[in-house]
């Protein structure tokens, strides 16, 4: 770039300051949105790729092949003894199991929870987990050893090196003992599903009744194959393996009902489990598309504005030619100008990203960070992007204008705007841009309406005022558990309290009974074990019959065998799948369908304890006068923090050495909502900025058009056009593309939003309000954007306008 080219660029940027600011700013915002969403997509798709040789490691999935059951589909968990059976049948196979356990570390009399997992001593054959100090592989041979993460080491011992050889007092699996720190591993990065801060040896648990029960899912099994072909061969042999091994729990051939599959661990994070919809991958793809489209809008915008501006410089080009500039020199000048301008926008985009990333991380619950150089660096792609956009934006003036015969440009009274074809192209681009903006607005409206709906929708119980004391399972001592229970029940703000193994947000166990009779397809139902006052605690509506209690014989299942007659309460979904349309009709009937004698004594409404994306299961409740397992739910009044604190005090006074874990009902539901809410927020940010860029583009284009039409306005006025006629003319020229944009946007948004809503069992209906509202807003934005300039233009004195050139 020579001195004159730079000078010319500087002049053209400073002469039209507002125009330059909007044009470059719009592009910068577009690139910034693209970068941020790109970082997000990269983060979400980079899970486990930090692990050396991650591509050789596979997670074993249990595939429940019986359709239409709560458990149907592939799960990331396996039975405990799978690896042992695999080792017998596939000699030399490399694998390890990982079992999440959790531990409380007692230091200075206070219990702290840590994410402890237990693994086989072959763990390091599968995972090349980077160590910070000590030796991992040998450490796991001894069950008395633990490996801890760097941050745990720093928290407890000050540093990784001083931690080695130290002991900690830990309660693991109900057993308090002293463990020795034998190694410190580098903290797992945020893009990992492994999620542990401590690792210890998995004991041989072969005597547990579930250990070799096919279909059970108690831990995760990982295998490592040094090449893809081995993995493929292994997978091909799994059905025969299952048919050989799973004979106790399944009718032959077992592989029709159950199987195992390999999932590369890089796919682990985004792969849904069981009947979960593929929502995470969908959000990542959606946000990636939003980023790309926003960039596209910004580029279209920029190119549009740059080329239309360049048309105004046709006269300059012609004059330069008259003065002897050759075509190559002109092309060089325009291309350099364009690339340099885009590079400025790119730089600005980086600044915007750096400044806004903390807020975006906060809004999205993310830990994104930007890398400049290296494999993940943005500098190189950004330079390439600048080159590409610059070339596109510069190509029109460079090649077209430089080809214009100088004489005809100089002879023409008016700056060439590319004629009708140019106007058409520009209008088409405006239409595309606005179509995307309107589709984004509709999307945002629907997303927000749906997330709002999920926050307010009737779950079948009152979600406010529930406190879940989840640490009940840690109380082994019967007397202690009773003492805690009665203390919690006696809290002044607590109105009801109940133990159950199923609670809002998921309980301690998931039991699904599947009954089949004769040739009819099996009918599955969730079984929830409840204690006294369960329905009162949740505020369930009794539709017919009565609740369960100790006064009625056969209600309390505590001392009843599985085959013995029992009374149960069912929900309406089960009532319907049993073929009753009226609750009263079901009372006194048996569940039947091959189930042991279960008499329905009450029907209650359906309660959604789990994800709004999954259907509520047909459910029956069995009653235990004194439940030993499960979570304690408290129904309280007043400030949740007060009740939580009182509950903690009550707990500590009885069981101070055991950590207290509790969350409110809304907190426990949060996990089901947060992915969607985060995606909604990111989508809204991206969409808002896309609309903003679209506005900037329209404004720029309108100002260009108005500038180009000043003389025409004068002519029209001399012919008797009033100011109103002029405003109509100038605003009207943008109405057509904006109206066409609606025609493109509506079907697009309708299809996209229907697909997204289909992922929810609990969802809103698509309403015309979202569509019409977004379109009206878009039209209003378009009118307001161009109205100001049109009004000003309409007021110019025609005699001045006619002198204008």
């Amino acid at each position: 770039m020579n001195r004159f080219a730079l000078l010319s660029l500087y002049r053209s940027l400073t002469r039209h300051k507002l125009y330059a600011a909007l044009n470059i700013g719009g592009l910068a915002v577009g690139i910034a949105v693209f970068l941020v969403l790109g970082l997000y997509v990269r983060f979400e798709t980079s899970y486990e790729t930090w692990l050396p040789h991650y591509d050789e490691v596979y997670l074993v999935q249990t595939d429940s092949r019986v359709p239409d059951q709560p458990f149907s589909g592939r799960h990331h968990w396996t039975m405990g003894g799978l690896l042992e059976q695999l080792r017998e049948d596939f000699p030399g196979i490399v694998g390890t199991r990982i079992e999440p356990m959790g531990a409380s570390i007692i230091q200075d009399g206070v219990a702290v929870n840590e994410d402890l997992k237990r693994a086989d001593d072959t763990f390091f054959d599968v995972f090349d987990l980077p160590m910070a100090a000590g030796e991992g592989r040998r450490a796991l041979a001894d069950p008395g050893n633990v490996l801890i993460s760097q941050s745990v080491a720093e928290r407890f011992f000050g540093s990784s090196d001083t931690a080695i050889g130290q002991t900690m007092t830990a309660t693991i699996d109900h057993e308090t003992r002293s463990v020795r720190v034998a190694g410190v591993f580098v903290d797992l990065p945020p893009n990992s599903e492994l999620e542990f801060t401590m690792l210890t040896r998995l004991p041989d648990d072969a005597d547990s009744p579930w250990w070799s029960n096919w279909g059970s899912t108690s831990l995760q099994t990982f295998l490592r194959f040094s090449n893809r072909e081995d993995a493929r061969q292994f997978e091909a042999a799994t059905n025969a393996f299952v048919n050989r091994r799973a004979t106790d729990n399944y009718e032959a051939p077992a592989s029709d009902q159950i199987g195992i599959n390999l999932l590369p661990i890089a796919d682990w994070h985004l792969t849904p489990e069981g009947r979960e919809p593929d929502s995470r991958r969908q959000s990542v793809a959606t946000l990636g598309i939003v980023g790309l489209l926003t960039l596209l809008i910004a580029i279209v915008n920029y190119v549009n504005l740059a080329t239309s501006r360049a048309a105004l410089r046709a006269r300059e080009v012609a004059m330069r030619k008259v003065l002897g500039a050759d075509r190559a020199a002109l092309i060089r000048q325009f291309l350099t100008e364009a690339i340099a301008t885009v590079a400025i926008a790119g730089l600005l985009a980086l600044i915007i990203v750096e400044l806004t990333l903390p807020f975006i991380n906060a809004a999205g619950g993310l830990e994104l960070s930007i890398a400049y150089l290296g494999g993940d660096g943005v500098v190189v792609p950004l330079i390439l992007l600048s080159l590409v956009i610059g070339l596109i934006a510069g190509a029109y003036p460079a090649f077209l204008l430089s080809r214009y015969p100088a004489a005809s440009v100089l002879a023409s009274a008016k700056a060439p705007g590319g004629g009708r074809a140019g106007t058409r192209t520009r209008q088409a681009l405006v239409a595309v841009q606005f179509a995307l903006a309107i589709a984004f607005m509709i999307g945002t409206a629907v997303l927000f309406a749906q997330t709002q709906h999920l926050r307010d929708s009737d779950l079948g119980f009152d979600r406010e005022g529930l406190l879940l004391v989840r640490s009940m399972y840690l109380l082994d001592d019967e007397a202690q558990r009773r003492a805690v229970q009665s203390r919690l029940e006696a809290l002044p703000s607590v109105r009801f309290a109940s133990m159950s193994d199923g609670v809002v947000g998921g309980g301690t166990s998931t039991n699904v009974d599947s009954f089949a009779e004769g040739g009819s397809p099996p009918i599955s139902m969730r079984r929830i074990a409840i204690g006294p006052a369960f329905f009162e605690t949740y505020g369930t509506r009794l539709l017919a019959g009565r609740y369960l209690d100790a006064q009625h014989g056969m209600d309390d299942a505590t001392s009843l065998e599985w085959e013995e007659p029992q009374n149960v309460v069912i929900n309406t979904l089960l009532m319907r799948s049993l073929g009753y349309s009226d609750p009263a009709e079901a009372i006194g009937k048996q569940i039947g369908r091959g189930a042991p004698p279960r008499t329905i004594v009450g029907v209650v409404n359906d309660m959604r304890f789990l994800s709004p994306r999954e259907p509520v299961d047909p459910t029956y409740y069995t009653y235990y006068e004194e439940p030993k397992y499960g979570v304690m739910t408290l129904r309280f009044t007043g400030d949740p923090r007060v009740t939580t604190e009182r509950a903690r005090e009550a707990w500590t006074s009885v069981a101070g050495e055991i950590p207290f874990e509790a969350e409110t009902g809304t907190e426990s539901l949060q996990e089901f909502y947060e992915d969607d809410e985060r995606a909604t927020r990111l989508f809204a940010i991206g969409a808002g900025l896309a609309v903003l860029i679209g506005m900037v583009g329209l404004w720029g284009l309108a100002s260009f058009n108005t500038a180009r039409r000043v003389k025409e306005i004068g002519i029209r006025k001399s012919l008797g056009a009033s100011a109103t006629d002029i405003v109509k003319l100038l605003v009207g020229q943008f109405m057509r593309p904006v109206l066409i944009a609606n025609i493109i946007a509506w079907p697009l948004a309708y299809w996209a939003m229907r697909t997204w809503l289909a992922g929810f069992d609990d969802r809103i209906e698509l309403s015309p309000v979202h569509f019409i509202g977004a379109s009206l807003i878009a039209i209003a934005i378009a009118v307001l954007t161009v109205l100001g300039q049109s009004l000003r233009a309409s007021r110019t004195a025609p005699s001045w306008a006619l002198r204008h050139d």
């Binding site: 005809s408 023409s412 009274a413 008016k414 060439p416 705007g417 004629g419 009708r420 106007t423 003389k711 025409e712 004068g714 002519i715 029209r716 006025k717 001399s718 012919l719 008797g720 056009a721 009033s722 100011a723 109103t724 006629d725 004195a797 025609p798 005699s799 006619l802």
Partner: protein, 226 residues
């Protein structure tokens, strides 16, 4: 038909004051063909623009028939221009994106009072100036003379009482200039009132009356001997 009394027009920009018109008194009768002459910058265009109401005088009276145009609002002035005036400019001022036919039709576009077949009137106007065969062309596809004839067609399509022409032959060669002058003369013969600015003495001689301007004032007025 037209009476200007004590018209004054001053431009004030950046504290520099220019007086473009000073103490101008002028009457134009119906059916007249008036030529305005004078050196560059003497205020000819300003006077014409004032007559055409696209420039407002700083002070003075402007009567068009019985109407006091000085007292009229912008909206009514626009209506007045659409109905009563036709403009012809030195640089033609056709709209590039519109065909010749559409440009001519623009002369009727702002006439809310014209009913009936507009296309016929547009065709008739193009016929009058002899550019009907170029109806579907764009302005840049035409020669200067053709463009100016199209501009005249646009000016007359609404059958205005007054045609204002600012150096209509200024950008044309002799032959094309003659052609335009002949059209204007014919229009005047058919009853149109014409006020024309020109630098060409011979074209000025084709008008019925001529005024000379100097430094914003009318300095002489002469009738052509018939």
């Amino acid at each position: 038909m037209i009476k200007l009394e004590n018209i004054e027009r001053r431009y004030i920009s950046d504290e520099v004051e220019t007086t473009a018109l000073l103490d101008v008194n002028l009457a134009v009768a119906s059916g007249e063909f008036l030529a305005i002459m004078g050196p560059s910058g003497c205020g000819k265009s300003t006077l014409l623009n004032t007559l055409g109401t696209i420039d407002r005088p700083t002070s003075g009276q402007y009567w068009f028939g019985d109407t006091d145009l000085a007292a009229m609002g912008e909206k009514d002035l626009a209506k007045f221009r659409a109905a009563e005036l036709g403009f012809v400019f030195q640089s033609f001022n056709l709209i590039d994106e519109l065909t010749i036919q559409e440009n001519v039709a623009l002369g009727l576009a702002y006439r809310k009072d014209v009913a009936g077949n507009k296309a016929e009137r547009v065709a008739a106007a193009m016929d009058t100036v002899g550019i009907a065969h170029r109806a579907r062309h764009f302005p840049h596809q035409l020669s200067g003379g053709q463009q100016q004839r199209a501009a005249i067609a646009r000016a007359i399509v609404g059958q205005p009482k007054l045609i204002l022409a600012d150096e209509p032959t200024g950008n044309l060669d002799t032959a094309n200039g003659e052609q335009v002058m002949n059209i204007l003369t014919a229009l005047n013969d058919d009853g149109a009132t014409i006020v024309m600015v020109t630098h060409s003495p011979s074209h000025a001689d084709m008008a019925k009356r001529r005024i000379d301007m100097l430094d914003g004032r009318i300095v002489a007025s002469a009738m052509r001997a018939i």
